[in-house]
Point group: C2
Chain length 202, copies 2
């Protein structure tokens, strides 16, 4: 199954280019596991879902350590029927097909609870989209149940859910939402925004 | 049908807050037509699809006039089964149900061709998500056909399509993609990024 993300990093600083070029080094440990391509709008990451979200976390935390207000925005996708399969993505989510929604929620909660702390406070919001099925809202409501018990839940918003907490737990929550909800081989996407050092906290 | 957007504006500048607070004034003419709520991550706009995209255009163009590198990012949604109907959204896309894909593509092309110019060069990329149907890729491929003939098409990317051109034409293209593809009363979303004044042009 093809999985990947189009990722953009926005440092609200006159030194935005320097912060981005520095932070990109945080992706170096992932260069064997991910295909990485950059243009003027975003950086494409192609690879296994767990590696994708870990790489995004490290990129974001590195940039946020600058102390500037930084936002990471990403379109994350798996199972898009328009993308050819790619061995680098290597993961088979098919085993999950046997798990009930309740079992998947439990697995997701355990994964978030055991994720390492980054000491980078963050806020986030995201939308989960499940395509190609008539019952997509059941999976979305299941995911919302997981989110409310994840420890990162902040509030429900129109079209999205807002999270708050350590960047490690937030990216772990996003990863679990991405892999555990929607059909295991289905077309699932996330629209993700993660923010640090905002002068406004509402 | 409920329609709206969560919109964020990212000026890559030490004066990001000033640029955002100035640009928000560009929404004043829309305050009767839209419900507008802001927190530390995004501004919610709720209202008719055509007004939504026009308001986002004016917000973005105002910020870009600062000369700083500015990005607008938005999650745009219509017909979400989890949102209660709201009279302010007022639009009925049901008439479009009778139009064939070819007719809808023609209507979208005419709308983009006749949109006013803003004189703000921009780049954009977006993804169209159609939920709750088994044939969502047919509508997406129809939309891609429209995009390729829209005058704003730049290139296909993984998970998304990249546009380039005047901000007026770009937001008109996004609006037409939003209203003309997917079931008229169905759940359709866009994940949108629009950029101006980038020092990198790839």
């Amino acid at each position: 199954m093809f999985s990947g993300a189009q990722v953009s990093l926005y440092p609200m600083s006159g030194n935005f280019a320097g912060i981005i070029f520095d932070a990109i080094k945080a992706l170096d440990p992932y260069r064997d596991a991910l295909r990485i391509e950059t243009d003027d709008i975003s950086t494409l990451l192609v690879g296994p879902p767990d590696v994708l979200l870990a790489a995004m976390r490290d990129l974001f935390v590195f940039a946020a350590r600058s102390g500037e207000h930084c936002v990471l925005s990403a379109a994350v996708s798996r199972g898009c029927p328009g993308e050819p399969d790619d061995p680098i993505c290597g993961v088979n989510l098919g085993d999950g097909i046997k798990a009930s929604l309740a079992e998947r929620i439990d697995a997701a909660l355990t994964a978030v609870a055991t994720t390492p702390v980054t000491d980078q406070p963050s806020a986030a919001q995201f939308s989960l989209y499940v395509m190609g099925t008539g019952d997509h809202m059941d999976e979305i409501y299941g995911c919302i149940d997981f989110l409310k018990r994840s420890g990162t839940f902040d509030k429900a918003k129109n079209f999205s859910t807002k999270l708050r907490g350590d960047a490690g737990a937030i990216f772990a929550t996003l990863q679990q939402a991405f892999v555990n909800f929607g059909p295991p081989e289905g077309h699932v996407t996330l629209d993700v925004t993660v923010s640090a050092n905002s002068p406004t906290r509402a």
